[in-house]
């Protein structure tokens, strides 16, 4: 009596808890698309409680980025990857994606997940932009002019020279110390001294509509250190041109009229409003310490995601219903009891997924259906064993107890060995497969509980109330 009680209360408490955990997901499923969009915009706390769907179901973009650290010393690589991760996080936050995931993976990879994103291309551009902003003084020396002449005569582009200076010894010879050659947005060439200041010292960047013709410009502000350097440069180089170089392209090269003491400057260029906004975003979030390259992309459009949800859940559900019916037909009452355990198993599994915010993916849905089908095995083992005990002439109650006792360790062994495969599967592969491994692992653990504790409890109850006198499987 006491024994049934504690099992009952534990199961009941877990069930109540599971229902409570799953309530937000249920509410979510009843919402209209507009309500959901609104909840995502306002970052409604319900989002943190709803069963999380993977990108393959929800639609969205998964990116794997590699930080190209070839230009960095080994000791700086780790720092560069960490900074790049932070900067990308900032950029995405500014871009406005609901629940993005950005994480470092391995030595120099960064995973970025953008659920429900409508325009993956712009997001990719935004993430990948190096946005290396430099301020360089234009070199007007005789040598510099010679360099420009040679380039023009021989049709060498600045890029070709910068990529491989030693291929052009006649230019390299006369190039002023530390200087190099750049192209402007309009196509003109400049010889520029080494960078006097970079975008790393920026504190703010915003779009303004000033300029001569009211075109968008980006106004920038340096921090204290940057402001001091900027004041110094502008002081020492009056009447010279200061080139503003973004990603190796000269945006503009205004003449310095006077010392600028407050660390404020503007970047003019032929931007449209959108260009200017993106540039400001990139500058504000900071420049990447090293270039990043997209080495893996998996984008699923929303309609394909919906299709997967329909087919995935549909097929899993149909399979399960047939299994439930099969159990009842084959084992009658005992099959029904096993089915109850199976449904409880499903509820627990979904609750664990929602509570720990594990991601449910399409293979994960298949995983749930499979774990439940395999979970039936524990019940089958017990029932077939009870059958044997009954055949050996034992009374119903003794047969049931013996059945459970004898297969207990078999159930533990089978589940644990399957778990080993599932755990290593989790270590492997991308999101959808991880989602599969998670549902498989969680399902295996829960099924041990439901198969052994829950079904036994139901039998004990039936025996105690004398509802089960004659027992036939």
């Amino acid at each position: 009596m006491g024994k049934i009680n504690w099992k009952f209360w534990i199961t009941a408490a877990l069930l109540a808890f599971s229902v409570w955990v799953l309530l937000p997901s249920f509410q979510w499923s009843q919402m209209t698309q507009e309500r959901r969009d609104q909840a995502e915009r306002t970052r409604d706390p319900i989002l943190g409680k709803v069963l999380k769907l993977g990108l393959d179901l929800k639609g969205g973009t998964h990116l794997l980025l590699e930080v190209d650290a070839s230009g960095l010393e080994d000791v700086k690589v780790k720092d560069a990857v960490e900074r790049a991760t932070e900067i990308i996080r900032n950029r995405i936050d500014q871009f406005g994606v609901a629940e993005p995931m950005i994480a470092k993976q391995g030595d120099r990879w960064i995973v970025v997940q953008l659920p429900g994103i409508k325009d993956p291309k712009t997001a990719k551009d935004l993430i990948g932009r190096t946005a290396l902003l430099e301020f360089r003084i234009v070199n007007n020396s005789r040598e510099a002019n010679e360099v420009l002449d040679i380039l023009r005569d021989k049709g060498i582009t600045p890029r070709e020279f910068r990529d491989n200076p030693s291929a052009f010894p006649e230019i390299e010879k006369i190039m002023p110390e530390g200087a190099s050659v750049y192209e402007s947005k309009e196509g003109g060439y400049y010889v520029l001294d080494k960078a006097a200041l970079t975008g790393a010292l920026l504190t703010n960047a915003k779009v303004e509509f000033g300029g001569q013709f009211g075109q968008p410009i980006v106004s920038i502000e340096f921090n204290k250190e940057g402001g001091k350097i900027f004041a110094d440069i502008t002081d020492r180089n009056r009447e010279r041109n200061l080139a503003i170089v973004l990603d190796d392209i000269v945006q503009s090269a205004p003449v310095i009229r006077s010392r600028i003491p407050d660390g404020k400057a503007i970047i003019e260029g032929n931007f449209n409003a959108e260009d200017a906004r993106l540039l400001a975003t990139v500058l504000r979030a900071g420049a990447l310490p090293a270039p990043v390259v997209v080495i893996e992309e998996r984008t699923v459009g929303p309609s394909l995601g919906d299709d997967s949800i329909r087919k995935g859940f549909g097929s899993a559900l149909i399979g399960l219903i047939i299994v439930l019916l099969f159990m009842i037909v084959y084992y009658r009452l005992s099959g029904l009891i096993a089915d109850i355990a199976l449904v409880i198993n499903l509820v627990f599994l979904m609750a664990v997924m929602a509570y720990f915010q594990f991601t449910l993916t399409l293979p994960g849905v298949a995983g749930i259906a499979l774990t439940l089908a395999i979970a039936v095995d524990a019940n089958v083992l017990i029932l077939e064993r009870i059958r044997e005990e009954l055949a050996a002439g034992k009374t119903a109650r003794v047969a049931v107890d013996a059945g459970y006792d004898k297969v207990f360790w078999t159930i533990v062994d089978t589940n644990l060995t399957s778990l080993i495969a599932a755990v290593f599967l989790f270590q492997f592969g991308t999101g959808p497969i991880k989602g599969f491994a998670v549902t498989l692992s969680v399902g295996l653990i829960i099924s041990m509980f439901t198969a052994i504790v829950v079904t036994k409890m139901i039998y004990d109850f039936l025996f105690r109330e004398n509802l089960l006198l004659k027992f036939k499987i």
Partner: protein, 311 residues
């Protein structure tokens, strides 16, 4: 209800026939490998690019192909179904952006009045392909080792663990062969399927092994062959019922689950059948072979000892 009454089949005596069947199945897989010239690895492992696009109106394979050819896209595979098309390019595809632009531009000029939606884009760089291949290998090696250690520990004999894993490897090879022969693409979801089959196989094998161990304790007097036969017959019904339930779900996923999990479900359908086979017809007879040889050696050693004492 019961599918059949308690059986009393002698499984052990025909074990060499089963070994031959297993060998033939393995040979089949090797044959499939040679016939197909190796597995059809997907972009997950080769690196490459995949685009799934749906049109507003139906398009024909020829139209799409010529549009892409004219657009300047080189070496690609094309699949179409009504309004949906899938473009695949394996290995080096150059710049991803370039690829996407070429495709969308080609369609924009050729099918000006037929709007397209990009449903899926997958791009896997060569380094990622390499990484995933290595990871897949690790996943197999470590889970097999883990299983050997666990089973060896629980059964206090490395032999049983190794036998279980031989069963798994046997099943994995055959499932893989069945994938290769159909020419289905091998991507990470196939690896997930194979590992799931591995988990299921060992699950199935353990049930039988547990029963054998129990019977060894209960009837010390029986010779090992009788014990193995008795155990297989005892778990036969359970094996059939469990296989059926897993089979039902796998079939449902296979027929209704859609493109993405199709190959996965296929592996599960094949895997559940072959796992049942290997437990009864491969693992148990193997343990029998090994155990009886060990016992015979022990007996011979004992006799030797007695003999020397007498002398």
């Amino acid at each position: 209800m019961q599918f059949f009454n308690k059986t009393n089949i002698d499984f052990i005596s025909k074990r060499y026939t089963y070994f031959v069947i297993s060998a033939l199945l393995i040979l089949f897989s090797i044959g499939a490998y040679i016939y197909r010239g190796g597995p059809n690895y997907g972009i997950d492992f080769t690196g490459g690019m995949l685009m799934q696009i749906s049109f507003e109106k139906n398009v024909s394979l020829q139209e799409v192909r010529s549009a892409l050819d004219e657009g300047g896209l080189k070496s690609f595979e094309l699949q179409t179904a009504d309004r949906m098309i899938m473009i695949r390019a394996k290995r080096e595809v150059g710049s991803q952006q370039e690829f996407e632009k070429t495709v969308t531009n080609a369609f924009a000029t050729k099918f000006a009045d037929n709007k397209i939606t990009v449903d899926r884009v997958e791009y896997v760089g060569p380094s990622v392909g390499e990484y995933l291949s290595k990871q897949a290998l690790y996943a197999f090696v470590f889970s097999f080792l883990g299983i050997i250690i666990y089973v060896a520990f629980r059964f206090k004999s490395a032999l049983w663990g190794i036998t279980g894993v031989i069963g798994i490897i046997h099943n994995t090879i055959i499932c893989f062969g069945m994938v290769i022969i159909t020419g289905k693409e091998v991507d990470i979801i196939v690896i997930a399927g194979l590992l799931t089959v591995a988990g299921y196989s060992i699950n199935d094998t353990i049930v039988l092994f547990d029963r054998m161990r129990e019977n060894m304790r209960l009837s010390i007097k029986d010779d090992f062959g009788t014990i193995v036969n008795k155990s297989i017959n005892a778990v036969l019904l359970r094996t059939v019922v469990t296989s059926i339930t897993v089979f039902i779900v796998s079939c449902s996923l296979f027929f209704l689950g859609g493109e993405v999990i199709h190959t996965f479900a296929y592996i599960m359908v094949v895997g559940t059948s072959i796992a049942t086979f290997s437990t009864i017809f491969l693992c148990a007879p193997l343990v029998y072979e090994w155990e009886t040889r060990k016992r015979n050696r022990a007996k011979a050693a004992r006799q030797q000892q007695t003999f020397s004492k007498v002398k």
